[in-house]
């Protein structure tokens, strides 16, 4: 029994050797969980273009529901000029891939208006995050909706630090407004290029253009859509440009164009399509879904 003291000492040392490192590990592990954790809720935020209401995507959504055989509940949001937000529809319980359409009372075109709309989008976005507590989402913008989303990403998203955007698809978004020029930059393009460093580094962007002829979809010049590369290329993780031709490729038909619906399913909703419908990509955009925290 006279050796008891060193035995107890040994026990004490053993406890410390286990306890202190585990303490450090714990801290590290929890921050890791917090940064890697992704909510099951993974909404797609849709923003229509100028002169369109929150019902702009109804045809697209009906089409998507029919093809994907999933409910995809829809929440429609309208932001008034004074910032008041009205909701119609709802996100159904258990639906983790809902669509949220955000439209604006003032839905006019023009540099000033687009900037205002981005600010309103931010108001609605913050309210949505607070209500539904998602921490990752994807975006779909049609026409000027893509500009509103881009401005929002550069100017306002940083204010909601723990929410990460994953994918952005813009359909016929005129990054250089209605200008056909490849050299002259309009105000909105200049602004987007100036702020491009603030774009989320892990974002994947798809810019889809439709063309009726070699230069335009009837409303937006192909050259203007092309200017998007000066904003996104080398700023975000992946930037892909896709051009769709054929039937239903006029500017306003694009969101429900069959080809584009397939692109939305494949790239934005990350569905696995049958090979005949799949857009051939040699290097599949790297999926970040798999890199979840490894559970023991």
């Amino acid at each position: 029994m006279r050796h008891n003291w060193w035995r107890w000492g040994l026990v004490l040392i053993a406890i410390l050797v286990v306890f202190i490192p585990s303490q450090l590990w714990l801290k590290q592990r929890i921050t890791q969980y917090k940064s890697n954790y992704r909510t099951p809720l993974n909404p797609t935020i849709m923003v229509p273009g100028s002169s369109a209401s929150q019902n702009r995507f109804d045809a697209l959504i009906t089409q998507l529901r029919k093809e994907t055989k999933r409910t995809h509940s829809v929440l429609k949001v309208q932001v008034a000029e004074n910032g008041r937000i009205t909701y119609t529809g709802s996100i159904k319980r258990g639906d983790n891939q809902p669509f949220i359409v955000i439209a604006f009372e003032n839905n006019r075109d023009g540099y000033q208006n687009i900037n205002k709309q981005a600010k309103w989008l931010n108001l609605a976005f913050k309210d949505l995050v607070k209500t539904y507590r998602f921490n990752h989402f994807s975006m779909l913008g049609h026409s000027n909706g893509g500009l509103i989303l881009s401005v929002f990403l550069e100017k306002y998203l940083a204010a909601t630090p723990r929410v990460t955007p994953e994918r952005l698809m813009t359909i016929a978004t005129p990054y250089n407004m209605e200008s056909d020029s490849t050299t002259k930059q309009t105000a909105i393009l200049r602004e987007l290029i100036k702020g491009r460093k603030r774009l989320p580094k892990k974002l994947t962007v798809y810019s889809v253009a439709g063309t009726e002829n070699y230069s335009s979809d009837g409303t937006v010049p192909a050259n203007s859509v092309n200017q998007g590369k000066y904003v996104f290329q080398n700023q975000v993780a992946h930037y892909t440009q896709i051009t769709v031709t054929g039937d239903d490729t006029t500017h306003s038909d694009l969101p429900q164009n069959k080809q584009i619906v397939l692109l939305i399913r494949q790239f934005l909703l990350k569905e696995t399509l049958p090979s005949k419908d799949r857009f051939p990509v040699t290097t599949q955009p790297q999926s970040r879904d798999a890199s979840d925290a490894d559970l023991p």
Binding site: S22, Q23, L24, W25, L26, I30, P296
Partner: protein, 433 residues
Amino acid sequence: MVGWLRELWRLNQRVGQWRAMRAVREALRVAYPFILVMAFVDVIGQGFLSKSGFFFQVYHVGSWLPGIDLWRQSLQAVSVVVNGLVAVMVAFTTGHYLAKIYRTEPLAVGMMSALAFLTLNVNYDALGQGGHGDTDANFLEVNLGPQGIFLAILVGLGVGWLASHLMRWLATWWLRHRQVTLSWTGRVAWTLTVVLGLTVAVGYGISWLVDGGINNLVYLALQTLNTNVGHQGLRILAVTAVSNCLWWLGLIGPIDVAGNSSVTSLQNLAYAVQHGSGWGAPYPVTLHTLSDAYANFGGAGMTLALLIAVWIGSRQASYRRVANQTFLPNLLNLNEPTLLGLPVLFNPILFIPFVMAPAVNIAIAWVAITWKLVPPIVYPVPRTTPGPLVAYLGTGGDWRALLLSSVCLVVSVLIYLPFVRLLNDEGSVDHAA
């Protein structure tokens, strides 16, 4: 109380006289050193080298140990061989000792029972598949490891008894009808034919009924019981108690279905990540938050508490020796060597605290969690985390959980102590090591 303990003691003595019981204890005694070595291999392999090991993560072993894959693979090789065949060894030793008691051919009977055990675990589904490629293993390998120990003991006892009697009967029959002694080869060969014929028939019959052999039948039943526990305290208590009873019988493992990755645990984790702590988690009372956190120190039956009770109260040199030898594996929740070495398995006296200690702890934890004295564990912890730290780390470092763990440990030691003292009176019958 004392009278009751005396009754228990008398029961223990009576059971200890049974031939079968003596054979089982001897068999476990022989298997113990092998399992002990394996436990240390597992301590290093699972605790320090495996990616999900506690010490691997805490000490960041991967970043400073060169050639980690080499270490892993070589340890795995040892582990696969010995850990994977523990049950076969137990079948052999049980048959061997029973034959010794019946004074027939111990070695031959031991081998027979090992073979019989193997025939029960042949992968009958793989046999008819022809030779194109590596379709399936020839044996149901999982059943040959620790979780096959119960079946191995049964087979060892059955074959030991049958073969011993058959041999003796054959010898006399031969002598009477042929007027010559039956040769040793003849006795063994005829007996082996009968035994294998029987076990193949049984094994094949069962493979028609269920995939995975006899063992799987039991495990399937248990798993359905386990996976549907829901979150009522009483059912969790019952399931854990049943599971511990089975551990005591040598049916090791089925409780493992509970764990970090069940749906409720993941939802709790999601909640904790969003809210910063486990307070108010959607599923505060589950098998994981009660049993894994507070009733599993050292593994099933709170064997860590048993070891401490042995240190405090046992005068049996063999017990103290086993306690010292198996402390480290127990700290990492690998308690097979303790169960086989002490032995806890088939020990009528230790059965009561083995089932009671976890049950009492679950009750304590349940009260503490429902009264909101401690938050439930929400963060995943490695399986090899030292028992008393599981709750502390799982709650994200809540000192109240650590306090509750210590309370649980002390209570369990107190539950074990009178039974360990009772075993002090055990005569010079040497059990272990």
